[in-house]
Symmetry: C2
Subunit: 387 residues, 2 copies
């Protein structure tokens, strides 16, 4: 896409300054594009997210395309973080401590056996642990645990540190980070997007606009009908907990991410833990509820009873941006100048590196590679045309 000629204009305007928007801007600037990030300043889903990088633990039957994206992004994470730390002087603290998926009872153990077989059939590296082995690995597991799956390669990162590092990297890369800037919508002229309309009535001209606005992509104006990627909010409640023994208790409650069927516990390594997450279709509501908090604590306390001793630091709810097929929309949209980095649902943090690479490629006019074809944003326009 050729840059627009006007003096103050940008090659790329990124709508949204969360993990994905910042990563896209960083990569765009790295390709020499004049880039601006338009950020409302509202805390996005990244602020609530636990930051699991767990494509293997999360692999579901029938989600091969998502698994492919996830595996590639997880693989890219180490180099991505190394480069990010180098550029930003902030360590996003990728924690390579692996994940245990745990079955509480006979039914869950049966389901977990099927998931183990499924992962092995895909050639994924997982290890089946008997209860005694699981408790040797994580002594805080309840004695009643029936079976566990050790996924040594599924790691985690603190999304708040990641975003702080990305913001610094964006600024050092020469891109402009415009805070407290609320985008109302995109301007479409003729057959192309020409920039972003701000809520204050002003306009940011750009050769291309990257929509990385999380759930707010759903309310951007200018993208009617076939231009739009349908996005709905899926509420997730999350607790942030801390060990009353302080920042470096020995031993820590758990070292690995612990996943049950309904809840997960992600250790940060400094006595802090993230306990998540509900999945609720409740529109734009972000209030934590007694029921949501209760379920998370109950479910995790049946796997790791010691979670009950942890102090509550924060309770938050965020909105995951979900598409009808639960796959993200990454790459060129239905008109020139429109690029999507949206609809990442539960996988925004995991898919940040791969999304940034794909978006930077799209901005340079490269086609989406075959392995990412399922994320093509134009699939929704095609589905509508076919209907």
């Amino acid at each position: 896409m050729p840059p627009v000629a006007a003096a103050q204009s940008h090659d790329v305007a990124v709508v949204g300054g969360g993990a994905i928007g910042l990563a896209c801007a960083w990569r765009a600037a790295g390709r020499g594009l004049r880039t601006v990030v338009l950020d409302s300043g509202d805390l996005g889903a990244w602020h609530v997210a636990a930051g699991m990088l767990a494509p293997v633990a999360e692999a579901e039957f029938g989600e091969r395309a998502l698994l492919e994206l996830g595996l590639r992004s997880a693989q890219a994470y180490e180099a991505f973080c190394a480069e990010l730390a180098e550029v930003s002087d902030r360590d996003p603290e990728l924690r390579r401590t692996g994940t245990l998926v745990v079955a509480r009872d006979g039914d869950e153990a049966e389901a977990l056996e099927r998931l183990i077989a499924f992962r092995r059939s895909l050639g994924l590296a997982v290890e089946r642990l008997r209860p005694s082995q699981a408790r040797r690995a994580e002594p805080a597991l309840a004695p009643t645990v029936r079976l566990a799956l050790d996924v040594a390669g599924d790691h985690s990162i603190d999304p708040r540190r990641l975003v702080a590092a990305l913001a610094e990297a964006v600024e050092r890369s020469g891109a402009e980070l415009r805070p407290r800037t609320r985008v109302a919508g995109l301007r479409v002229e003729g057959e192309r997007v020409t920039g972003a309309e701000l809520e204050d009535g002003s306009f940011v001209a750009a050769g291309a606009v990257v929509v990385a606005a999380g759930v707010h992509a759903a309310s951007l104006t200018g993208l009617s009908g076939e231009l739009r990627v349908p996005i709905r909010p899926v509420k997730g409640q999350v607790l942030r907990l801390r060990d009353p023994r302080g920042e470096h208790p020995h031993p820590p409650l758990v070292s690995r991410t612990i996943r049950g069927e309904q809840a997960y516990l992600v250790p940060r390594g400094d006595g802090r833990y993230v306990l998540g997450a509900t999945m609720e279709e409740r529109g734009w509501d972000t209030a934590p509820t007694a029921g949501g908090v209760h379920e998370l604590i109950r479910d995790m306390s049946e796997i790791v009873p010691g979670v009950l001793e942890l102090e509550i630091e924060e309770i938050e709810a965020g909105l995951r941006p979900a598409t009808p097929d639960n796959l993200p929309a990454i790459g060129r949209g239905a008109v020139e100048g429109l690029v999507w980095a949206a609809g990442h649902h539960r996988n925004g943090i995991l898919l940040t590196p791969v999304t940034a690479e794909l978006v930077a490629g799209a901005l340079a006019g490269e086609p989406l590679p075959e392995w990412a074809a399922a994320a093509d944003p134009r699939r929704f326009a095609r589905a509508r045309a076919a209907a």
Copy 2:
């Protein structure tokens, strides 16, 4: 006690600007005493308290003296609030909606039958409700509820409104309310208390000092040995919840205070509820914990399942000031000029009116009436002397 002669001195210095300290100051000023309230500005136990005025629902075997104090204070509440509203132009909003004590299962029903018999033996007005009657009164009760006790006379008040009204009343009564004033201890000279030592090194001279500092009474200097009332903190975690339907949903979830064995739910009448409270002996720790929050929600959801739908507004923990015999210390201490309004444990809000009257009486040299003799602060000195 004669006022000290010095020009800037006060007849009375009250240490602590919570519900009890303010009420004592208001009553002291009402008797013409030059009164100053020294308030640290820290939010006290009143800020966490639910504000149940429930001497009958809470009556325990072997606590006759406490019941007597509670009944008298509960009886005084209506006139107290009317006068307070008149003086302060702020309605503390006494809610006369009664209390249901609920048994979840056979064991709890048996225990509740014993409590009903005990209350009747004391001549207290209570009504035994079968499950169908209880659910007619409060349709949100779980179908599994086994038995209920209707205590129509046990009401509630919002302690935050109460304190706001009291602060206004104190100022209008001519007493001085000194904010951000941290008291280090009391000065004892010869055989009398002569004032309060502040943390900034200054001194407030007063003819008498009223200790209404909640748990902080335990750390005041100057009160060594037999002068001291032994006070320890008892942690209580409390949730503040709200109905997602807004301020005046019809019907409300519940209208009465609902008490189970382990948790209670106090409606505020504006779609807000207080769910409390844990009882934990953990020193000065005030961190909410996953376990505490979990227990409260679990226990109440077994009685009122709809509590799970409520939104979480606040989670707080406060410290109840408890004495060894769980009775408060009200009235003159072991030396001249020392007056206690302390150690109210779970009953600070309930006992506020009666405490203020007794303290005002003590300041005027009146002896403690017979029905309040068990609250005499000097019982601890006597116990030590006898040991």
